[in-house]
């Protein structure tokens, strides 16, 4: 008897059902918005090219990027050396190609590093609130009050040279930003009734954070991380420029700029090409990140 009533109710309720979108169509809707954004598509295109170069680059360089041929030094761009050669006679084009891997790797790894720590700190601060929140966020505020490049330089000075150290230095510097953004996402997400429901149903705090809250703030994290990679690439270049990045003779864009900076007036091409590489990579991640944000933000979607 009871059952029959329930089923009858279902029949009636079906008319009320409105299928808004299919689960996979959510991604499709995002892609549709992104497709219309030419700048974001350009960014994505450049990112894909950069990734391909980063992977196969070392196998396709026309010259050995580290080989010094003194007779060939100071050659401007030509058919032989598209981007010219540097003061030690190394092919700049080959060095830029090889440098792609370093820049991308440091960028992505540094973001991953700060994202990981920032997520943990931001989650704890936002979810538990109170004293622990105050302590974590005051430390983040102190870190933010120091100019990030200064902090990174100090860290590099303490840690020493090397790609791994650069990753840590650049990663540490941007932890506060991630911690902040994740904290605020968590603060707003945890007010949702489904988080309360998870509590009432006996989920542990850890499970609530990682199963119920983080999946719902992932889109804002992805956007921030994409934009963060461009900052990290720029920071890598800055450290390299100051001679604090990779060990010589490893090719790295910022390092390439820094070593020849005194020759900018005489041999501008030596700086122009690595500079363009940095700009292009940074621009690509920025454009794509912005497009991603617009596509993921339902408010901007018509």
């Amino acid at each position: 008897m009871a059952k029959k009533k329930v089923l009858a109710a279902e029949g009636a309720d079906i008319q009320e059902a409105v299928v808004i979108e299919k689960p996979e169509s959510r991604f499709k809707a995002m892609w549709d918005t992104l497709k219309k954004n030419k700048a974001a598509l350009f960014g994505l295109f450049v990112i894909i090219i950069l990734v391909i170069i980063a992977i196969i680059g070392p196998y396709i360089t026309p010259y050995n990027p580290n080989k010094q041929i003194m007779n060939d030094a100071f050659q401007g761009p030509s058919a032989n050396h598209w981007f010219g050669t540097d003061n030690l006679g190394r092919d700049i084009f080959s060095r830029i190609i090889v440098g792609t891997r370093v820049s991308l790797f440091v960028g992505v790894a540094a973001v991953a590093f700060s994202l990981l720590i920032g997520t943990v700190l931001g989650s704890i601060a936002g979810y538990f609130g109170g004293k622990i929140d105050a302590v974590i966020m005051r430390i983040m505020d102190i870190m933010l009050s120091i100019p990030s490049i200064l902090l990174a330089i100090t860290l590099m000075a303490a840690l020493g040279k090397g790609i791994d150290k650069a990753i840590i230095a650049i990663g540490v510097v941007s932890i506060p930003e991630y911690a902040r953004i994740i904290r605020s996402s968590i603060l707003s997400t945890k007010e949702n009734d489904y988080v309360a429901a998870a509590k009432v149903l006996g989920n542990s705090d850890g499970r609530i954070i990682f199963h119920h809250i983080i999946p719902n703030v992932v889109s804002s994290i992805v956007v921030r991380a994409t934009l963060g990679i461009s900052t990290a690439i720029l920071d890598t270049a800055a450290l390299g420029f100051l001679g604090l990045g990779v060990q010589p003779p490893t090719a790295e864009w910022g390092d390439m700029l820094g070593r020849v900076r005194s020759m900018v007036l005489v041999h501008p091409y030596m700086l122009i090409f690595p500079g363009l590489a940095i700009t292009l990579a940074v621009l690509a991640f920025n454009l794509f990140g912005d497009g991603l944000r617009d596509a993921l933000d339902p408010k901007s979607r018509s």
Partner: protein, 339 residues
């Protein structure tokens, strides 16, 4: 009447929120969301809790399911004083008391399929071995009138009524004894409301449940509840059996609420009691009767001290010291009825 077994008893329960602290952390403004409330819920009944928005109904519900910690007072569930337990022990009782939320759009995790939403509580509470979970989820979906094949869909693919059904199935998944239904139909289309109410009514018998059924109007709980409590600004004003309360309301506030329900009975055309003014804020409420500023029967003494909820007779509780003659009249009738 008192042979019925008490499942939940709330004694002098209060929840105050500090809405403004001084520079040195001393509370300046205290919001008394729930103020010294006591009631009992018997096994197998549906206790309706009614009151205007903001009077503290949800806060009571949230204290029962451990989302809020009471400022003071006791919650006694099945003989166990939950409020005396350590948080770790308290959590063991979580699955006994479940909550159905008001907003079906906010209460389901948008990133989980409805199958997972219902399966999760079964898994984390280890209610069934893993291989039996799927069968159970299908059964629960069936119970709330959803089809099995919908289990792989996401909440946004469902209508409000269907989502509320998912929320009900999720609450049932942990085999609770008491369910707090916090205005479960007020966010739904009027045409869907009756369906969900009927469903809840049917499930109550099928699963042997007890309900605390929260609503903002007396008309919603009329059908489903056995007893009804009326709240105003954090205070319980009147508690009685449904028929008693609807036919012989003693508290002026209850009378006003009832007079607002349109009557179909033309012969007994009721006088509509229009309350003057708005609901005052629960922040730093005055000492006297909370209802005094709007009560059509208030006198000077009402603002002086706060009437307590007293049993007139036969389980009819009223908080109003100045309906004395009427109360006595009613008591005599009730007592005569009893003998």
């Amino acid at each position: 009447m008192d042979k019925r077994e008490v499942l939940l008893e709330v004694q002098n329960l209060s929840k105050f929120f500090t809405v403004n602290t001084s520079f040195f952390g001393r509370p300046i403004d205290v919001l008394k969301a729930v103020d010294n409330v006591s009631f009992k819920i018997y096994k197998g009944e549906a206790f309706g809790l009614v009151g205007e928005s903001g009077c503290g109904k949800s806060t009571i519900g949230k204290m029962l399911v451990n989302l809020y910690t009471p400022t003071s007072g006791k919650i006694i569930y099945d003989g166990v004083e939950l409020t005396a337990l350590k948080q770790k022990e308290r959590r063991k009782y979580c699955k006994e008391i479940q909550l159905i939320f008001q907003d079906p759009y906010a209460s389901l995790n948008p990133k989980m399929t409805i199958g997972d939403i219902i399966a999760e509580p079964i898994l984390i509470n280890k209610i069934l071995p893993k291989n039996e979970v799927e069968k159970r989820v299908n059964y629960l979906l069936d119970c709330v009138g959803l089809a099995n094949h919908q289990r792989n869909r996401y909440p946004h693919e469902f209508s409000g009524g269907q989502r509320q059904r998912v929320g009900i199935a999720r609450a049932l998944a942990v085999n609770p004894k008491l369910i707090v239904c916090d205005e479960p139909v007020s966010a739904l289309d009027v045409s869907i409301q009756a369906q969900v109410l009927n469903l809840l009514d049917d499930l109550k018998d099928e699963f042997g449940l007890t309900y605390l059924f929260i609503a903002h109007g007396l008309n919603v709980v009329k059908h489903i509840s056995d007893r009804v409590g009326v709240m105003y600004l954090g205070k319980l004003m009147e508690v009685a059996d449904k028929n008693e309360l609807y036919n012989h309301p003693l508290n002026p506030y209850t009378q006003a609420l009832l007079s607002a329900i349109p009557s179909v009975d033309i012969t007994h055309k009721k006088e509509r009691i229009i309350l003057k003014g708005d609901v005052p804020t629960p922040i730093n409420p005055p000492d006297g009767c909370r209802f005094a500023s709007r009560c059509f029967r208030a006198n000077d003494k009402c603002t002086e001290h706060c009437p307590e909820l007293k049993d007139i007779a036969n389980g009819h509780f009223v908080a109003c010291d100045f309906c004395g003659e009427i109360n006595t009249e009613r008591r005599i009738i009730l007592e005569n009825k009893q003998t």
